[in-house]
């Protein structure tokens, strides 16, 4: 409908000509020259109006309408001209007829309704929901019994306007819902983010941001420049001027920034290491500011520190191991007569060290603890002596008898104990009870007066005549470990039925 606007007022001649040409004598109104002066005047008035207007005259509300009203009729024009209201608009009679009759009867005055919804048929059989802002006024007419000759209709169709408004409202609602959804997503994100304009003023932030920097309400952040609050200090403790801030630089100049070696500060003054990414916000080629997303990397830093510690510990142990190996080789070379003997000695001692190392190996699945774990004395003895445990010819006789309470041994003590037990065992295998199939060793230990007391008793070996003339290396090493390292005592008894070694040292040295 374009008839609403002034420049488009249709030439009144179209309807005026139709009305002039019509043979009204064949209608209930009778010939035009017999009409009441009120009707004639009203028809002339509405013909000159740009608004959609109509007259419904007499008890049958015969319709005369102007050019503006024509589109409202749809296909019913021009058939509707001069026909009774009920014939033209049967579909609206239940709604509008009583109103017309009341006006005609003088029972009520004018009627006005905005966007009145009417279900009508004006294009063939098709039903449509149309809306009209309508005004019905009584037309004064002296000859009529009630003084009212008909109803003057002004009807502006608002179907499209209402539809547009409804669509607009729906899209506004959808937009609001979408905005709320987006907000929910941003606030549900684990990563913190905030946006700044080109001047560095915060324009937007999410809940993770507020939580991470310890700001309670969004209003405390929005509209403010936060560098001085959350980003004011370099990792070295020096002042961090806002002009140097990569976030503000990107907001000011565009581009991108990625930083993972700085700290953000909470309102309470505490700080945390962050990794952040800054991207320029462009709208149609124009820089609007920047968005900064960041994560708290405290845990990652801790893991890196832990890794550094582990590597340091590992490096220390490897170097130490080389030093010990160097000692093993040099010392073994001092007593070995042949390369074969040297090789055997070195291999045996390295094996003892390796076994001790394996026992105290830290649990690598628990990366938070690089420290060696304690292991039991019983376990150590079994490992060290395992090459001799089933060397018996019969395969049934148990050559090794171990008995004692559970004793936990620390890393250093474990290595030292492994070394001397290895020397005891190799000595027994070469000269003592383990050199013959029927021989065996009984090892017993107990804790007494804060001392660990351990007895090594060989039986069933070759009969010993006396103690050896010279001190072997094993004896030197054992003596050094027990006295020099453990601060304890060691005694050898070369009994005829087999060697017995008594050793004792403070229990606390076991924990080392």
């Amino acid at each position: 409908m374009t008839q609403h606007s002034f420049p488009d007022i249709p030439p009144t001649e179209k309807m005026a000509a139709l009305i002039g040409a019509k043979d009204w004598s064949k209608t209930v109104l009778g010939a035009a020259d017999t009409w009441s002066p009120s009707l004639t005047m009203l028809v002339n008035i509405i013909m000159a109006s740009g608004f959609p207007m109509a007259v419904r005259w007499g008890p049958e509300f015969v319709m005369i309408y102007n050019d503006g009203y024509r589109p409202i009729l749809g296909d019913k024009h021009p058939w509707a001209l001069g026909l009774p209201f009920a014939e033209v608009w049967p579909e609206v009679q239940p709604t509008l007829r009583p109103l017309h009759e009341a006006i005609l009867a003088g029972e009520r005055g004018a009627f006005f309704a905005e966007d009145l919804l009417l279900r009508i048929q004006r294009h063939g059989a098709e039903w449509e929901d149309a809306r009209f802002t309508i005004s019905y006024s009584p037309i004064p007419d002296a000859p009529a019994a009630t003084g009212v000759g008909g109803v003057l209709i002004t009807a502006v169709e608002t179907t499209n306007r209402v539809r547009t408004e409804e669509a607009l409202r729906a899209s506004e609602t959808a937009l609001r819902e979408r905005e709320a959804d987006l907000r929910l997503v941003l606030d549900s994100a684990t990563d913190a983010f905030y946006c700044v304009d080109t001047a560095g003023t915060t324009t937007m932030c999410n809940v993770a941001f507020l939580r991470m920097v310890g700001i309670e309400h969004e209003e405390q952040a929005i509209g403010k420049s936060l560098h001085g609050v959350v980003h004011h200090t370099h990792p070295d403790g020096s002042h961090y001027p806002a002009e140097e801030c990569p976030i503000y630089r990107v907001a000011r100049e565009g581009g991108f920034a990625h930083v993972d070696n700085e700290f953000f500060f909470r309102l309470d003054g505490s700080s945390f290491p962050v990794e952040y990414w800054v991207s320029a916000i462009m709208r149609q080629g124009e820089l609007q500011g920047a968005v900064c997303t960041f994560i708290d990397i405290t845990e990652r830093r801790r893991a890196q520190e832990q890794q550094k510690l582990l590597l340091g510990e590992l490096s220390h142990r490897v170097k130490n191991l080389f030093a010990v190996t160097d000692g093993v080789i040099s010392l073994s070379a001092r007593s070995a007569q042949t390369p074969v003997e040297l090789t055997k000695k070195i291999k045996g001692r390295l094996r003892a060290l390796a076994l001790a190392h394996e026992l105290i190996l830290p649990d690598l699945n628990r990366a938070d603890d690089a420290k060696p774990r304690p292991a039991s004395l019983d376990e150590l003895l079994r490992k060290i002596l395992s090459p001799y445990a089933d060397a018996s010819d019969t395969g049934e006789q148990c050559r090794l008898a171990l008995s004692g309470p559970e004793v936990w041994v620390g890393a250093r003590a474990m290595t030292n104990l492994a070394l001397i037990l290895h020397e005891f065992a190799t000595n027994a295998a070469k000269y003592g009870a383990l050199s013959v199939p029927q021989g065996g060793v009984e090892i017993t230990w107990l804790e007494r007066d804060n001392l660990l007391v351990l007895k090594w008793q060989e039986r069933g070996g070759p009969t010993l005549a006396a103690s050896p003339a010279t001190e072997g290396f094993g004896t030197v090493l054992s003596s050094h470990v027990v006295r020099g390292q453990f601060g304890g005592n060691l005694s050898y008894h070369w009994n005829p039925d087999g060697l017995m070694v008594d050793l004792s040292f403070p229990v606390e040295r076991l924990r080392d």
């Binding site: 340091g312 490096s315 220390h316 142990r317 170097k319 130490n320 080389f322 030093a323 010990v324 190996t325 160097d326 000692g327 093993v328 040099s330 010392l331 001092r334 001692r349 250093r412 003590a413 030292n416 070394l419 030197v476 090493l477 050094h480 470990v481 020099g484 390292q485 601060g487 040295r509 080392d512």
Partner: protein, 125 residues
């Protein structure tokens, strides 16, 4: 070479300690120790042995060797450190003249240093 100089050896790895002892004895020195702990080393110093030089491991079984190093420095005894780790800064401060070797150490270099030290600081000098 070492002319019966008394060399204190503080080292908690038995093989390293015993090898050091053998090497020093081969070079004509006399070993005090070897011991593997701060408490044992301090106990040896209490016995008032005349010590010409000392070889100290840094991280011992019970703790860092610092108290031993301090006591030796107070007595004017020259010190050689050997460690798999870097020398802690407080040890450097306490013993500015000490020589530091990182493990593993070549026995020859260590002996050479000990000879120099005993000739410079020994009773005959």
């Amino acid at each position: 070479m070492l002319n019966h100089s008394a060399i204190l050896v503080v080292e908690d790895e038995p093989y390293i300690a015993l090898e050091l002892q053998a090497a020093i004895e081969e070079a004509g020195g006399e070993v005090v120790g070897p011991v593997g702990s701060v408490s044992a080393a301090l106990a040896l110093l209490q016995d008032c042995v005349e010590i010409a030089a000392a070889v100290l491991d840094v991280q011992l079984s019970d703790r860092e060797v610092t108290p031993v190093a301090q006591a030796l420095t107070a007595l004017g005894v020259p010190v050689v450190f050997q460690s798999a780790k870097n020398l802690p800064s407080d040890l450097k401060r306490h013993c500015p003249d000490a020589v530091f070797y990182k493990k593993p150490v070549a026995a020859e270099a260590l002996l050479e240093t000990l000879v120099e030290m005993t000739q410079r600081h020994g009773p005959s000098a």
